[in-house]
Amino acid sequence: MENKRKYVIPGDVITTGPFRPEQNVVLEGNKIISTTIGISEIYDDSVRVISLTGKYIPKINDLIIGKVISHSSLSWELDINSCYVGFLPAQDVFGRDFSAHADELTSKLKTGDLVAARIANSDRTRDPLITIADRDLGKIDSGDLVEISPSKVPRLIGKKGTMIQAIENATNAEITIGQNGWVVVSCESPEGLLKAKKAIKMVNEQAHVANLTDQVKEMLEIKGES
């Protein structure tokens, strides 16, 4: 079976025949057509396209970075770099005994604060529900925000996390990657911070290049010597 990866754009016929259409493809007659710009992959019985463009679409259990944009007396609204706003209920932060009279929401999270969060629920009818009640989640106190294209997040993580490990090891930075394309970098040394940010931007710009992990490593080493 051919398992060739191909660059495709909307309207390109990837293959014909009895395949199962998966992500970003449609079946028209017996033709399987790409619906987005990306890389097509053919498996034993299914076809899919990995998208190179587009906005973030919330998926349950995704780790994301959100920015508080407003709050009511019962919940916060987060900008999650998507077409929807994230909904963070106050119970999630204050616990079950939250009372709208006694607790002031701004005492925990203010407008403009960044939070690491997880998508608890997301369906077609409502805005995505966000939770910060877990280990490693919650308000982010320090670090720099870097914005990358959400479709390039898997590239930044790399195969089994190789890319991100390479950057972290070379710069001693701590990097939190949100699936929505927002990345928070924090580092003790300013040089490490700058280097890590540069490496992330490099991945964002050259995501289509093969062997990028090695190139990033090389770039980090050269910078380290000077």
Binding site: K4, P10, G11, N24, K31, I33, I37, L52, K55, A210
Partner: protein, 245 residues
């Protein structure tokens, strides 16, 4: 346009048109994907002397809220001509013609885009005609579909558009401004080549049934030329070298 009398020779005895083209030859076309930093997707097209810039935003929140649809995303299109796009200053307020073209382009794009994955959102397409020279709706439609693809909106196919028409009793491809004013018919066609479907078909003028069929075929061939350039523009932006990994 009813075949007005004019001194202009639309087609000479050698089959050469007033701007030096053959009867089945389109104008020079250049399409570039991207270019606007703040838009989610953008495209620029030069179609002969037409110069059109398209920006796409979305999917994003719908304002006003009552326009949103809980089942699917909506598509909104604004076609606008700059005051300096034509010989005499054009009033920048939306004219009757611009409102019609916005609607027609929106309806030509609707069969291509797949918005049911984005309920309660809107995709906004802004088309700015910087310089007009006949056939702007086709050029605008071609550029809009490239900009939508650039924005990552799921699409069944790119919509390519090209006009065909009749001037000096001959069916011609890609009607320019002079031929539109003095010719006998103008037929803009929007076409999805992979699906072999027509999404836009207008006709201004009079054609016999045979001429009509021939005109559609000529127009569709023109759309295929535009389609190759649209694909080239997207390939250039996303995969600089070669199509296969």
């Amino acid at each position: 346009m009813g075949g007005r009398e004019s001194t202009l020779v639309l087609l000479d005895e050698n089959g050469i048109r007033c701007d030096g083209r053959k009867i089945d030859e389109p104008r020079r076309i250049m399409i570039k994907a991207g270019g606007l930093k703040n838009a989610d997707g953008s495209a620029y097209i030069e179609f002969g002397d037409n110069k059109i810039l398209v920006g796409v935003f979305g999917p994003r929140d719908v304002h006003p809220k009552h326009m949103s649809n809980t089942d699917t995303g909506i598509l909104r299109v604004r076609y606008h001509m700059e005051p300096f796009s034509v010989g005499e200053r054009k009033n920048p307020a939306p004219s009757r013609r611009e409102i019609e073209i916005s609607k027609v382009i929106k309806e030509a794009l609707m069969p291509a885009v797949i918005l049911d994955k984005f309920p309660r959102t809107a995709v906004d397409v802004f088309i700015e005609v910087l310089q007009a020279d006949g056939g702007t709706r086709c050029a605008a439609l071609s550029a809009a579909s490239v900009a939508l693809a650039d924005a990552g909106i799921p699409m069944r196919d790119l919509v390519a558009a090209c006009a065909a028409g009749k001037a000096a009793d001959t069916i011609i491809l890609d009607v320019n401004n002079e031929e539109d004013q003095a010719g006998q018919a103008d037929m803009p066609i929007g076409y999805m080549p992979s699906l072999e479907k027509i999404t836009l078909l207008q006709l201004d003028g009079v054609l016999s049934p045979e001429e009509f069929k021939k005109c559609v075929n000529v127009g569709v061939d023109g759309c295929k030329i535009v389609y190759d350039l649209q694909k080239k523009a997207l390939n250039e932006k996303y995969f600089q070298n070669g199509r296969d990994q």
